[in-house]
Amino acid sequence: MIGIMRSMALVMKVALTRKPVTIQYPEVHREIPNRDRAFPILIWDEEHDEPFCTGCHACERACPVECMTVVMKDNPKHAAGESKRRKIIDEFWIDYARCMRCNICVEVCNFEAIGMNNTWAGHELSRYDRKDLVMDVEMLLSQSKDGKVDPGLRA
């Protein structure tokens, strides 16, 4: 009997003294840490006004779930003498439905061209069709281009 009374006293004490730790999620967003790993995005080189990515296939080869497809092309800006990058990405697809967010692509990248999205936009990706989760190069670059994302983890 004493044990039950003590349990109930604890419940009363907690109910009166402690505040709830939960938040009303869709209205209120928790602050997420800088290193948060949502999904990989490509990073925009402001200086040369082109992506950092040269399409070297390093991330594609290292990906454990083979969720990436990279196509490389000759950089037209290199021919014009505006950029040092000989090659640049033509197409880049990442299937977010397949990605297991292991950060290996970021680790192997030699150009710091890929990073993990650390904003809520990287988490709230519900779609009606899983085909919509295959992101193309515009989608992957758009957030970094607009300056919305600064990935905490880079190579």
Binding site: L10, P33, R35, A62, C102, N103, L153
Partner: protein
């Protein structure tokens, strides 16, 4: 007349199906209980609903890619699973891990043990009929731990933070301070659970004396972890076969007397206090500076041919990784010895001649992770 009528009645055992989608089976586990009245006379477990062939998948991956799959196998004690895997590869390659990395590994693994045991406390309370109360007390504290893991590794559940030869990246600058903050919440949570359940007569009445296993039975069934220690066998890999830097800490191994469900709860509760003590000691001894990855590691890891078995004490018991390599950058064969699977094999013997309602408690006290059972 009445006697003749009774004689014509046939007595049969009734099979009762439980699972695979039953809240008390902690995952997709199905068991068929043969009951004679209220007592179980036979238990037929059905596993394999979560089988994904993870071991085979890892054979097609190199030693960095496989780490992500360790998380997904043991999703409540991810750091323990990662540690066993990287330890196996390190032993095969003969890599010396820097001291600072070892300490951080131990701190995170012990904090992970705390978060896993909080999960057990919450879920076990629900099994025993405390309903949501224990869950609502255990989960906020677990959340603090997970926030810390998220700050360090970047993900709430699938950390993928350990690497062969050390860690993937440096911890945050305020790591030590954050650990102390989190430990305060953790100790609060342990006190709460202790006060709520340990002396509660209803809880004791529900737990005491059911599913009792003697030390001989426990050893014969190959139990490990808190299940084995509750039966009175002081076997803990952290103490008996120290790996990493566990031999530098002072801690005790809690042991139960009767091996029943209540003892398993008590052992886990005491283990949480010991884990807090280990983390505190490790934070004190943690070198402030130093490398976190072993030197001279090749970019593409290759092991010499050979085989190795690395084991760690996960919150559920002995988590082992048996790795066979024929050279090259991928394992030739990988086998994970999961404590959940081995402990679950004792379910039938524990449930025999117990009440049907107690079978739920016995299963709950095993603290199984179904991903880890089926792999």
């Amino acid at each position: 007349m009445v006697a003749e009528h009774e004689r014509s009645l046939e007595v049969v055992d009734i099979p009762i199906n439980m699972g695979p989608q039953h809240p008390s089976t902690h995952g997709v586990f199905r068991m068929v209980l043969m009951v004679d009245g209220e007592k179980c006379v036979d238990v037929i477990p059905h596993i394999g609903y979560m089988h994904r062939g993870g071991e085979k998948l890892m054979e097609a991956m190199d030693f960095r890619q496989g780490i992500g799959y360790c998380d997904r196998t043991e999703y409540l004690a991810q750091f323990s699973a990662e540690l066993a895997y990287v330890m196996a590869v390190e032993r095969l390659m003969d890599v010396q891990v820097p001291e600072r990395a070892e300490y951080i590994r131990v701190i995170l693994t012990e904090l992970n043990r705390l978060s896993s045991h909080f999960m057990f406390m919450g879920a076990f309370g629900i099994d025993s009929g405390v309903f949501g109360t224990s869950f609502t007390y255990a989960f906020p504290q677990r959340e603090y731990l997970q926030e810390l893991f998220e700050e360090v590794s970047g993900d709430r559940l699938m950390y993928a933070y350990f690497r062969v030869g050390g860690l993937a990246w440096e911890v945050t600058d305020n790591f030590v301070q954050r650990c102390h903050e989190v430990l305060k919440h953790t100790q609060q949570g342990i006190r709460d659970i202790d006060e709520l359940l340990t002396k509660n007569e209803i809880f004791i009445g529900r737990c005491q004396g059911i599913g009792a296993f003697t030390a001989e039975q426990a050893i014969a069934n190959g139990l490990s972890g808190p299940m084995l220690r509750a039966s009175g066998v002081p076997w803990d890999l952290r103490k008996d076969e120290p790996y990493s830097v566990y031999d530098r800490f002072n801690f005790e191994i809690p042991v139960g007397n009767y091996g029943d469900v209540y003892d398993r709860y008590l052992v886990r509760l005491e283990e949480m206090r010991q884990s807090v003590s280990i983390v505190e000691q490790a934070l004190e001894q943690l070198p402030a500076e130093g490398p976190i990855v072993a030197e001279k590691l090749p970019r593409r890891l290759r092991t010499p041919p050979g085989e190795v078995y690395a084991k760690v004490e996960s919150p559920r018991g002995e988590w082992g990784v048996y790795l066979v390599s024929k050279g090259g950058d991928k394992p030739y064969r990988l086998k994970m010895r999961s404590p959940s699977f081995c402990n679950l094999s004792a379910l039938r013997e524990m449930c025999l001649n117990q009440f049907l309602a107690d079978a739920v408690m016995i299963l709950g006290s095993m603290d199984i992770v179904l991903c880890c059972v089926d792999r």
